[in-house]
């Protein structure tokens, strides 16, 4: 909580800092452009007003004419003598006034026979240039920040990336090195089972090997997850669940745990087998791991409605203290039980991928229940045709 607060304060501070860094040059650039535009327009207005003033003094009957500048002549009390201003300013207490898109310049002139005291000149202005500069500066600044951050990140993450690469290589090599001996052990155990009646020791070796295989498969999935595309297929979840229960029977027997199953037949789902295996295996493995000696594990599979089926795995073991953190990667409730803490994180990622709802209920020393609500595979027209055949 404290860390989060410090982190958000820091990001807020840096955001403000970057904003200020952007605003300072932008402010000066915009101000300079406004000043320049106003200065140019003001000069032109002054020039024109002087022309008008000159014609008033020279007793010419006609004022200079322009399509760019509009003129208003006023007496001492600001009563209009003549005016072709497009918009008359609300008050006359200004020398230069900008009321976008018009700019005004007022000049007080000496007494004359026409009784003109004030000349007000109007011209049209345009501030698009200011906005163009502002947007260009903004884009330039964004590009600079982007380049700066990219360089910064590249430089700071180089050692971490290197470390990550070493770790990946290490994992890949380790996995490769483990796969062959694990295969050899499995095959030989199977052969041994064919030759002789399995002893207690062989059963223990079989259970331990299965545990090891499951851990191996978790890690393998974790590594391959982002590299390999897992294709979906139609799975008879009922049969598949039964086969996984059968696989874990040996492991359960080492703790004299009994499985009580209630499995509805021929429920079909549409997902990848490896991913379904990860969900089932991790749930069953955890249930076994955290069950007490001679405990009982209830496994149910049933159709909830037309669209969904549910897998429920209930154990009567030690339960989970903190349900909320159970899916965090590398988190283990009881480190004495071994493992990497990857299993449930993988389960959660797969469930998110397939929109599978997860239910967890747990009470300390009473046990835990894990439930998965999985979408059933819809029977399509061609499937029916196939069945009929």
């Amino acid at each position: 909580m404290y860390l989060f607060s410090v982190e958000s304060k820091a990001s807020f501070f840096y955001t403000i800092l970057i904003m200020i860094l952007f605003l300072i040059p932008n402010y000066f650039a915009i101000k300079a452009t406004i000043d320049k535009e106003e200065y140019i327009n003001r000069l032109e207005l002054i020039h024109w007003v002087n022309k008008v003033e000159k014609s008033i003094y020279s007793n010419e009957l006609e004022l200079p004419r322009s399509v760019r500048f509009k003129i208003g002549l006023y007496d001492q009390n600001y009563n209009k003598i003549t005016s072709d201003l497009i918009h008359t300013p609300a008050n006359f207490s200004f020398e230069t006034l900008t009321k976008y898109p018009y700019m005004y310049y007022k000049k007080n002139i000496a007494q004359n026979k026409h009784n003109v005291a004030y000349i007000i000149c109007e011209t049209k202005v345009n501030y698009s240039m200011i906005l163009i500069i502002s947007i260009l500066l903004f884009l330039l600044f964004l590009a600079l920040i982007y380049a700066f951050i990219k360089v910064l990140i590249r430089n700071t993450t180089v050692p971490y990336k290197q470390m990550q690469r070493y770790m990946d290589d290490f994992f890949n090599d380790s996995m490769h090195e483990l796969k062959t001996p694990l295969g050899v052990i499995n095959i030989n155990l199977e052969l041994l089972g064919g030759i002789m009646q399995p002893t207690r020791h062989i059963k223990r070796i079989q259970a331990a090997t299965k545990q090891m295989q499951m851990t191996y498969e978790d890690v393998e999935y974790y590594i391959k997850n982002k590299k390999v595309k897992f294709t979906k297929e139609k799975i008879n979840v009922s049969d598949y669940l039964k086969s996984r229960i059968s696989f874990f029977n040996d492991v359960a027997l080492t703790k004299s745990i009994t499985f009580t199953t209630q499995i509805e037949e021929d429920l079909m789902i549409f997902m990848n087998t490896t991913e379904l295996q990860r969900i089932i295996d991790n749930t069953l493995s955890n249930a076994i791991k955290y069950s007490n000696f001679q405990g009982d594990i209830e496994i149910k599979l049933f159709k909830e409605d037309e669209k969904f089926c549910k897998i429920i795995v209930k154990d009567y073991g030690q339960g989970i203290k903190n349900i909320q953190n159970v899916f965090d990667r590398f988190r283990r409730e009881d480190s004495a039980q071994g493992g990497f803490g990857l299993g449930l994180n993988i389960v959660q990622n797969i469930c998110n991928k397939y929109d599978i709802e997860i239910y967890i209920e747990s009470k300390e020393s009473k046990g835990s229940t894990f439930g998965y609500k999985i979408k059933l595979d819809k029977k399509k027209f061609l499937d029916k045709v196939e069945e009929n055949e």
Binding site: L61, E62, R65, S66, V67, R68, K70, D84, K124, N126, S128, M129, L131, I132, I135, L136, F138, L139
Partner: protein, 276 residues
Amino acid sequence: MSRGLIFALLCLLASMSVLGYFVNDYMEYKQENIAQKRMDNYLKELLEKINNRKNVVLTASILLSNDRGVKYCLKENNRNKCVKYLKHIQDTFNKISFSQDTMIHVHTADFKSFFRVWDLENNENDSLVSFRDSLQYIKETKKENSGIEVGRFSMLIRGISPVIENDEYLGSIEVISNFDRITSYFKKIDLDFYVLMNKKYEKIAEKVNYSRQKKVNDYIVVNNVNSELNVFRDIEFKGTGFVKKNNFYIVYTPIYDINNEKIGFYALKVLASKLF
């Protein structure tokens, strides 16, 4: 494509669109600014041409007002004494390039037409008092003046000088010019020049028969310009301004008479290609 990249591209696209809009707006403003500067130059040139013409007719009227024959004519109320001379002068003026298209009109002291040199068959001394305010001004001030005014023969450029002998106001002499020289000057530089008189003065200019083709909205084109007048149909003339049409601009500015009354508009049709 990652979400970040899509977001960045969308931001870039939005920024470029906004940027494009403002660049376009600014370019249009700059272009209009250049066009307006050029239009101001044409306007300045037009007013200079008008003033030159005013000066020509004014100078001629001053010279003639001091002629003894003219004074004698008015004093004796006998036009025969100076008609020949003035006819000769008018013909001479029309032979000289800078004073071409000029006419001479002599007025009595009581604001009646004494005779028009170009219309000698007319012996009627018609009264000008109701519409020729400039004649009253000349009599009051006893000073020469020039300007644009509507008379029996249309809205024209007029230079008027008082004819005075021994402090006695005998009448006034007027040298008149039409706008043909200015029209042909602008035609030479590919600009159409129009002199628009407000329709309410049509009754005064009773000696001229304006064709329907010369009338547009509240105005009558009084100069000889052979160009389409439909361009003026949707223009609301008001002060000095301009209107952008497809490939040309119409620049206009009001014509004021001696009483500072708006009696019409000068208009220039300028091709857009001449402004950029």
